[in-house]
């Protein structure tokens, strides 16, 4: 090892840190950081508030943040919606979140022995076929999106530090570095794509080719989903959630979230999507839980979906909000309407088929 002085070591360190921060800020001008709510944020909000409607689902549940604002406006705050988005889906994960994160707060009693959150009367479960797909791997989003430090320590003590529970540490790191696009994007490619676009400008032909490639990829994925959709463990989790909520006298509604139209082939619609909708109805039916299948019947067009082909744009969310509040979920703004609209009644609502 060569000899160094403290002065040179500190200078190198300080300059390196300055370069990293400067690059980060420069990249943020091209690729802004997108902050999204997670289970942790929703649970923190639930601690502080007393919502009337809880929405539990994957990242798609974030649509109900927009819905919530509109509903609060129309009802003067009488209906308060709180969305709990568990990024990356899976019914067994929603079940875990319901049991371990939400129920303790719903059952929480105040000093007077009465529930702290007495207003919750309805739960909307937002799901899609992927949530029941068994791909043979444990759902990594459970530790990364839903665990607390206690859950992590319990698991690490039992199994050691493994790839599965390491997801919790990764999500801690990402939360710690929320202000850095470089840390947030680590390996996901948004920065490189954004920088390339900023330098080279838009390339419509290459984007068109990329879109065709990705549409086909999505189509194949959804078609292939027919093999593993409706995994018993996930369907059991759905039944469990319904049972838990019904036991607490909470009304339950299930929504099958819209998919980007271009990603749905007739084959996928007839197999994967139809199978999932049928199985969800089979599980929900005996409890009288309404199921609204919006996967192909909704007002959204391809242009209403983001670049990731999975999530809806802000404009799309507003369109979807208007549509659902005039249709299946109008009870959110007109409680007397009741939630008795079934998927069979969908064409009458003017949905796209």
């Amino acid at each position: 090892m060569s000899r160094h002085s403290w002065r040179s070591v500190l200078l190198v360190g300080a300059l390196a840190a300055t370069v990293v921060v400067a690059c980060d800020l420069a990249v943020q001008r091209v690729v802004p950081i997108q902050h999204q709510s997670e289970v942790e944020d929703a649970i923190a909000e639930l601690r502080r508030s007393d919502p009337t409607v809880l929405v539990l689902g994957s990242s798609h549940a974030r649509t109900w943040e927009v819905v919530g604002e509109e509903v609060a406006r129309r009802t003067n705050g009488a209906t308060r919606i709180l969305a709990v988005p568990v990024e990356f889906g899976k019914l067994r994960v929603y079940d875990w979140v319901l049991r371990h994160r939400i129920l303790p707060l719903l059952d929480d009693l105040g000093p007077d022995g009465r529930p702290r959150r007495p207003s919750v009367s309805h739960v909307i479960l937002v799901t899609e076929w992927w949530d029941s797909l068994d791909d043979g791997t444990p759902p990594a989003n459970l530790p990364s999106r839903a665990w607390t430090s206690r859950d992590f320590l319990e698991d690490a003590t039992k199994h050691g530090l493994v790839a599965y529970n390491r997801n919790w540490l990764t999500s801690r790191w990402l939360r710690l570095t929320r202000g850095s696009i470089l840390a947030q994007d680590r390996g996901y490619g948004r920065v490189t794509k954004g920088l390339v676009r900023a330098i080279r400008g838009d390339d419509p032909e290459s984007e068109r080719q990329d879109t065709i490639f990705r549409v086909r990829k999505w189509q194949r994925m959804i078609e292939a989903g027919a093999e593993g959709v409706c995994a018993p463990e996930d369907m059991a989790a759905l039944a469990d959630m319904i049972s838990i909520l019904e036991d607490r006298d909470l009304d339950v509604t299930i929504v099958l979230y819209p998919r980007k139209p271009a990603t749905i082939t007739p084959r996928a619609e007839e197999t994967t999507l139809a199978t999932y909708a049928r199985e969800v109805r089979r599980v929900a039916g005996p409890a009288g839980v309404p199921v609204h299948d919006w996967s192909t019947q909704n007002p959204l067009t391809d242009a209403d979906f983001r670049d990731d082909f999975d999530h809806v744009t802000p404009e799309g969310n507003r369109l979807l909000t208007e549509w659902m509040l005039d249709g299946d979920l109008r009870w959110l703004v007109a409680p007397d309407a009741g939630d008795n609209v079934t998927a069979d009644a969908k064409p009458a609502l003017g949905g796209r088929s």
Binding site: H4, A14, A17, T170, G187, T192
Partner: protein
């Protein structure tokens, strides 16, 4: 935990803070490092922590007993017994966890071939992490005490730290008592050279492991080795070269990470890799690749075997075969590793026969000395050495002997129509950048270019600071979250 994993972001700063804000006394530093090492081990296989603890205790007691036993020109029966006990204990432990399943499965295969029913239960045991490393390290310690090269460690705590120091616990370098025990007996002080040297080694290790090895493995080697039939002949060769880069990056990277982390705590670990792809002969290669393992094998197996009183005395070529068969088995309980070891043992035998033959020519005619010093000889020697090394990596990578043979055959026959599994410009750029990095890393060690490297490293501090910042930005963007395990941690 792994040294390049996200957990280090939390573990290392807290530990460093506690270590350096506390008193600069071994009474504080050693127990803290031991506690950290226990946590580190437990983070892999918490239930097997007692195995490590018992094994440390046994060797510490035996070492102390050896120290207390009277020394003589020849080992006394008592010393032989104590050493033999340690040897048997460590080899049984290693054999049970690592080889019991292998030998049972092999015997069952033999029974089946003889028309008998396979009757032995095949155990699938979870390995205590790094058992191959800390077992060798402790064996070296006991052997050195036995041979009088080292005094036994008086403190159990110090010995436990020596055997389990977390940076080198799971994948080496394999340290010796002479190297590490003196360092545990004096307090460590933070110096700017330690910080700079530690950061350099850590950064180099991170680049080799997290960037080069992981990407080469994921994007090139794994897809091609999984389905070699569909790839073109050229792609198969590149897949093999990528695997060579992957395994070098993985293991050398981990070793540099360990050295870097060691320096952060004021502890100097031995070098484990020294530009192995510059080697022009197999003996040179084994003084550059996994240096601490080969040093161990030659000092504790080859040396005693070929200079002792046994059948092997003076049978140096047989000694090579034994050493490399042991090396193969050490790498894994599979016949593919045995084949790898056998090939390298034979390679060394061929090298030494060639060397003896060539020297005899030189003695007869001095012009052969000049030929040997010439560039064509050096280039030929480099090509043959590296080609042999790379080709012998096939059984190292493939799961069965049949698969190894098939991959070797496919290197020389017309292939499928699929080229390299590089789909986009970014992947191609990454591939070329990694190739340039590995090439540059080695080439800059050549005599003619070393000056250039030293000049770059000696640039003024502001330039180095900016360069370091840009390297960190590069890693933040391109090195994916969630690194794979170290290949060598499984040995």
């Amino acid at each position: 935990m792994s040294l390049a994993g996200v957990e280090m972001v939390f573990f290392l700063p807290v530990l460093l803070l506690l270590y350096w804000i506390g008193p600069r006394r071994i009474g504080w530093q050693n127990p803290l490092l031991l506690l950290a090492s226990i946590l580190f081990f437990a983070s892999w296989t918490p239930r097997l922590l007692p195995i490590l603890a018992i094994s440390i205790l046994v060797d510490w007691i035996l070492g102390r007993a050896l120290d207390a036993a009277p020394e003589d020109a020849n080992p006394t029966p008592r010393r032989r017994l104590l050493f033999g006990t340690s040897l048997a204990f460590n080899l049984c432990l290693l054999g049970f966890f690592k080889y019991a399943g292998f030998f049972a499965a092999s015997l069952n295969d033999l029974f089946t071939a003889m028309g008998l029913p396979p009757s032995l239960p095949v155990l699938r045991l979870v390995l205590p992490i790094g058992i191959s490393y800390w077992t060798l390290s402790k064996l070296a310690y006991v052997a050195d005490v036995y041979w009088g090269r080292l005094r036994a460690c008086r403190s159990l705590l110090t010995f436990a730290l020596h055997a389990s120091f977390f940076p080198q616990l799971i994948a080496g370098p394999i340290v010796r008592g002479q190297e590490l025990l003196p360092q545990w007996s004096r307090p460590r002080h933070l110096t700017p050279s330690l910080v700079a040297g530690g950061a350099s080694a850590f950064l180099l290790g991170f680049a080799l492991k997290a960037w080069a090895a992981d990407w080469l493995g994921m994007a090139i080697a794994t897809p091609i080795f999984s389905e070699p039939l569909i790839y073109s002949r050229g792609a198969r060769w590149i897949g093999l070269l990528a695997y060579a880069g992957q395994i070098f990056g993985d293991f050398a990277g981990y070793s540099f990470l360990a050295i870097g982390v060691g320096r952060f705590f004021g502890v100097e670990l031995p070098l484990n890799f020294r530009y192995p792809f510059l080697s022009r002969s197999l003996p040179e290669l084994w003084t550059r690749w996994h240096i601490t393992l080969n040093r161990w094998l030659f000092d504790y197996i080859y040396g005693p075997l070929t200079t002792g009183e046994s059948f092997f005395r003076g049978r140096f070529e047989l000694g090579f075969l034994v050493v490399f068969l042991a090396s193969g088995l050490w790498h894994g309980a599979q016949w593919t590793f045995v084949l790898w070891g056998l090939l390298h043992g034979l390679g060394l035998v061929v090298h030494f026969r060639w060397d003896a033959f060539y020297k005899s020519r030189c003695r007869r005619d001095r012009k052969w000395v000049a030929v040997r010093r010439g560039a064509p000889y050096a280039v030929s020697a480099w090509v043959i050495t590296q080609l042999f090394f790379v080709l012998t990596l096939i059984p190292f990578r493939t799961p069965t002997l049949a698969a190894a043979g098939e991959y070797f055959r496919l290197l020389f026959v017309r292939g499928g129509h699929v080229g390299l599994p590089i789909g986009d410009l970014e992947s191609l750029a990454n591939f070329l950048a990694i190739a340039a990095f590995l090439l540059g890393y080695h080439v800059l060690e050549l005599d003619r270019l070393r000056g250039l490297r030293d000049r770059v490293l000696g640039l003024p501090a502001p330039v180095r600071g900016i360069a370091l910042g840009l390297v960190i930005v590069f890693f933040l963007i391109f090195v994916p979250v969630g690194l794979g395990t170290f290949i060598y941690a499984e040995f």
